[in-house]
Subunit: 139 residues, 2 copies
DNA sequence: TCGAAAAGCACCGAAATAGTGCTAAAATAC
DNA sequence: GTATTTTAGCACTATTTCGGTGCTTTTCGA
């Protein structure tokens, strides 16, 4: 149903949380307590985001994750791609499709796919936050 | 990964095919031969579309399915909704979400969801077809 | 009355997803 | 340098969704 996976959903929530605490390192424990998410799963997700370079991590007491750059520079598409692969409505769009020859809607689906990709490219993690909690500037 | 299900994919292909043969009844057999799709599955899909009133069926020899109204009046969103339920990026958007309280991105995700829904509302089955095969006016 | 075609119902297998367990490595505090 | 906090890595299980099929019934035309 065109759903995001939980990974993306949790990932976006966590990133939004980090965005509301700029430059602060937030531990997985803190985040899951705050957002009420399954700990190990969010840990997995943040690890992936870290590997992909959207967040940076430090270990040990006082450690955790923080955004590498401002949330305004982080499009949703980037997050979704990291956590669930390329944004494509059909396999055709992701790579190759055995139906090629008989597929009469290939180009049409291509247009839809890029429109949707555009929506996700244009919106950033910063915009996910309600206006109030946006950039509170608290250290 | 934000994918359509095969049901939607096959359904859209079949509808596009019907659109290229206006007012003609096309049997499942004919369609799957033409488009190289699994027969029983497409039958299932067309049955659902029929129940939902986007195509009409007649049985017996010479029977099959045809569009109830022109493909220009059939938005992709309608098809996807029939075949896989409401277009929603998260469960939150489809109905209720237990995280409500702790979910800081609810309104944000709501905005993305409606943008995507709009994309699918604005594009019709007619637009899926490459310009050449559009409305051939045969018969 | 025979054959073609949709309608209904129920089921199966495979793949993707959600989620967990455990151990290792790093950083800090004492 | 030892204990503690926290991320990193690896592997695994359970559940759900999805793709696909079988079989019977009903309808319609020839």
């Amino acid at each position: 149903m065109l759903r995001l996976t939980r990974r993306s959903e949790y990932g976006l929530m966590a990133l939004a949380y980090l965005a509301s605490r700029p430059r602060e390192y937030c531990s997985v424990r803190e985040i899951v307590e705050e957002l009420k998410l399954p700990k190990r799963l969010l840990a997995e997700v943040l690890k992936d985001l870290s590997r992909a370079g959207t967040v940076e991590a430090t270990r040990g007491p006082g450690g955790g994750y923080r955004l590498v750059r401002s949330a305004e520079e982080l499009p949703l598409a980037r997050v979704v791609e990291i956590l669930e692969g390329p944004v494509a409505m059909t396999d055709c769009m992701a790579q190759t499709c055995e139906l090629e020859a008989s597929c009469i809607i290939q180009t049409g689906i291509g247009r839809v796919t890029s429109s949707i990709r555009n929506v996700l490219e244009d919106m950033t993690v910063a915009e996910l936050l309600p206006a109030s909690s946006e950039a509170p500037l608290a250290v």
